[in-house]
Symmetry: C2
Subunit: 178 residues, 2 copies
Amino acid sequence: MEKLRVPALSYAMETLHVLNHGGLLLASTDKGGHYNVMTIGWGLLGTLWRLPFFLVAVRPSRYTHGLIEATGVFTVNVPAKGMEDITDFCGSVSGRDVDKFKEKGLTALLGKNVKAPIIAECPINYECQVLYKANIQREGLHEKIVEAIYPKGSYHTLYFGEILTAWADPDAKERIPL
Amino acid sequence: MEKLRVPALSYAMETLHVLNHGGLLLASTDKGGHYNVMTIGWGLLGTLWRLPFFLVAVRPSRYTHGLIEATGVFTVNVPAKGMEDITDFCGSVSGRDVDKFKEKGLTALLGKNVKAPIIAECPINYECQVLYKANIQREGLHEKIVEAIYPKGSYHTLYFGEILTAWADPDAKERIPL
């Protein structure tokens, strides 16, 4: 079944729901076309600078961090019902050690506008180009977040990715775990 | 009609739609309880640090900027069909010159968890507390955004507001201009 190009924010509710219930798959690539994917439970979606954006937060220690730094692109993919073992797996092992696409039999489709892959098995996909990035700065943080999330520092980098293209399978709404 | 407390992200689609079609109303207060409201067309919605967030961007030159700096809170309010003249007005005059609540007959309700007011006439409302703030830094920006938005500098401050409470009127979906 062919994926359809959809308005960037038309599946926002479904996407934020799955973000909070199991997580989304953040895919990236190095310059040689070697792909990686990690599970994310955090992200913001909306409009900034008159453009649709997906903000993701990645710690510098993550393998994905180096890939986004090298290429300036990523994709976000919303897994379907039944893919829970894949989101669990992709959130627990590093792409430094394992080829997660291969290990889990995920199909990488070439993005239309970015070199990072979109994941065929995921019914909703966002192709993003980083237009702004910034490391979290200690001085702007409320103590509550410092204590809960950053007791040892290791602040996330925020990547503001313009959504260049959004895709959905025709049956995306039925396949999302709502 | 009584406003109902709703899950923080349950009206994400409606909120982002109106953000892109006319704008939302960002309300704030000074320490003395003097309110202001401005129209915003930019914002991001989602989850960060395990909490629901509304990110808004405010230029330091805005009256609202000083209020959020002073109190650390704001609300975002989704206007109903028929409030277009109010969003136009609140986007074109400064709270330094005009009491926009009074001028437009808006009803300020006291927030449950923040001192900033929510707007009774708006069918969806978010009460937010700033847990992170940062000024946009030139070095992290793509040239495309510098040229389009910041030819003269005056970078926005990003306010990451935890959504402490979200409210919706029972007929919110029918009153939103979808």
